[in-house]
Symmetry: C2
Subunit: 332 residues, 2 copies
DNA sequence: CTGAAAGCGCTAACAG
DNA sequence: CTGTTAGCGCTTTCAG
């Protein structure tokens, strides 16, 4: 900045004024400063400025998603970035990969870089470590999973309701023996989906004690093996509810391996790419990750703009997409 | 930091020493400072430190990918983050979305935040605007697409060779009339793939002037329409080479809509999720985005560690994955 | 082993 | 309309 001032033959403060578009600078001076800045390829140091700036804003957000390689996370990221870019805000994005140590590590990395707000997918048993930061006024919004130990804005799918919807759909097609294939039990979202699933079965009069429930499935391979085992058991299910993305794919593979994809029903939670091109098409309870990301960003910016209402839960509806695999009727 | 120093009853510099793990502090003092920091939930301001620090490193990278919602970009992002996290470096990730104005805008946002290095996917006709920054010593690595107007490390797939591989495969199955469905012509990578495609056809003695080449396909819908048109033409192709992710998906849909997916061959460039579960399975020339991201990160860190060899091109091989759609023989 | 003073690049407050 | 001075939170340098 000093170099620019020297080259333009003005004071350092005038350069600052031009860079920030402050009033009270003559057009000629503006032009000279602009030229000098361009000539030197000058980029203002945003962080140095924020050190002294009144609002102290870094125009930066920290985003922690489940896994950058999951389409759900990709969509959330995209929506957040979209909203951020409109406000000239940059986004730090990290992957949780369902590793509790990475959660705190990433948050700390964000905080050291003085982000203006945090959008977090979490896995730790408690987010109490964020209480002080939230009290200090940093907007924190939880996405996809509800926090524990702190109160803050939270944006989630209607996990239990969505799972119930899937169950009702399968019940309507005559199924009574529906298996639950779920993600890790330490993931809050997974527990919600299981709850919705079991409660709906209970309401339909199915003895939930006899329902095949397999959890801690976290990738295709593990799910594949687990479902194969279940299909070979004495009393195999006539329908399967797979409560996550990758679990659904693993389930598809297992059903195909046993050539049961046309006789055992399958409904997945969260949409799967190309699901409509498979045979049969994969019926899913689709989430709305765009909306989740968008809402999360909205909440952060509302807080930054002064909203100080208490943190609330925002629930984004899911919807059933019928494609074939969920409409296979129970036999007998 | 002042507060921590006060609470611990030491000087501000001692706090600094403890935070940075510098030697020459007594164990007792370390303990007191650590306790005070924890009590106050103190997070050092990384940027304030870098203002004065000798190396001036922000421990931050800027990453610009094609589109966060494309699995290819997701994989690159993941690989870069993986490598970065090992070194305690955070990653800013932005999406280009093939908008030239966003390219410079994002780079500028990164630079204002004083990232240590840049990993960029580009779309502008020239990256000359980066010349000064590169000269200044900021490591810049281009991924997926080669830059124009500057020399720097570049990590790309062997686009032309991969396209040629696809062509050879289809020629071996008796095809002579192979259509090319490609992405936007202003994308360097797309031009390379077309070149590889046409040159290989030429080598096989096919008159390239008669080859159906459709470009500027950038999403499923446009591709769908374009291929439908081509299939209805007087001399429809017996095989299709789709030179990009989403183009491949659009092509699959079009072939199915005409019920030609078992009679017209299809080979795609870049892998598609669940490609092996479709009927027929989708034969592709797969890229290795993990390797691309990893290599790019390696190059940035090597530069930061002092490597000052001239910028070079790093080519990541592709490989043909045979799944069915590419092995349909030409009729007649 | 520890602290005081100076300064990184910038903006706030005030003076001209 | 423009420049000067102080200070943001930290590290450096140098003195105890």
């Amino acid at each position: 900045m000093k170099q620019v001032a020297a080259l333009a033959g003005v004071g350092i403060k005038t350069v600052s004024r031009v860079i920030n578009g402050e009033p009270n600078v003559s057009a000629a001076t503006i032009a000279r400063v602009t030229d000098a800045a361009r000539a030197l390829d000058y980029q203002p140091d945003l962080h140095a400025g924020n050190l002294r700036r009144a609002d102290g804003r870094s125009r930066t957000l920290g985003l922690l998603v489940g896994s950058v390689s999951n389409p759900f996370s990709g969509a959330v990221h995209r929506a957040v970035e979209e909203a951020a870019i409109e406000r000239g805000v940059a986004v730090f994005a990290s992957s949780l990969d369902d590793d509790p140590s990475r959660e705190e590590q990433s948050v700390s990395a964000f905080l050291r870089r003085r982000v203006d707000g945090l959008i977090l997918t979490t896995i730790s048993p408690s987010q109490g470590y964020l209480a002080a930061e939230i009290r200090r006024g940093t907007p924190v919004v939880f996405v996809d999973r509800e926090p524990s130990g702190v109160t803050a804005d939270t944006v989630v799918s209607d996990n239990a309701a969505g799972a119930a919807l899937a169950v009702r759909h399968m019940l309507a097609h005559g199924h009574r023996r529906i298996a639950y294939l779920g993600d890790r039990g330490d993931i809050q979202t997974a527990r919600e989906r299981r709850r919705g699933f079991l409660e709906e079965l209970g309401r339909a009069g199915v003895a939930t004690s006899s329902v095949p429930v397999i959890e801690n499935l976290h990738d295709e391979a593990v799910t594949f093996d687990a479902l194969l085992g279940l299909l070979s058991s004495e009393d195999p299910p006539t329908a399967v509810f797979s409560a996550q993305n990758l679990v659904t794919i693993g389930a598809i593979r297992a059903l195909r391996a046993r050539d049961l994809h046309h006789s055992v029903a399958l409904v997945g939670f969260d949409d799967v790419p190309l699901a409509d091109l498979l045979e049969p098409g994969v019926t899913v309870v689709a989430q709305n990750p765009q909306r989740i990301g968008q809402l999360a960003a909205e909440r952060v910016f509302a807080r930054l703009d002064g909203d100080d209402t208490p943190g609330a839960r925002h629930i984004v509806p899911t919807r059933l997409i019928v494609r074939g695999s969920g409409e296979i009727n129970a036999i007998g």
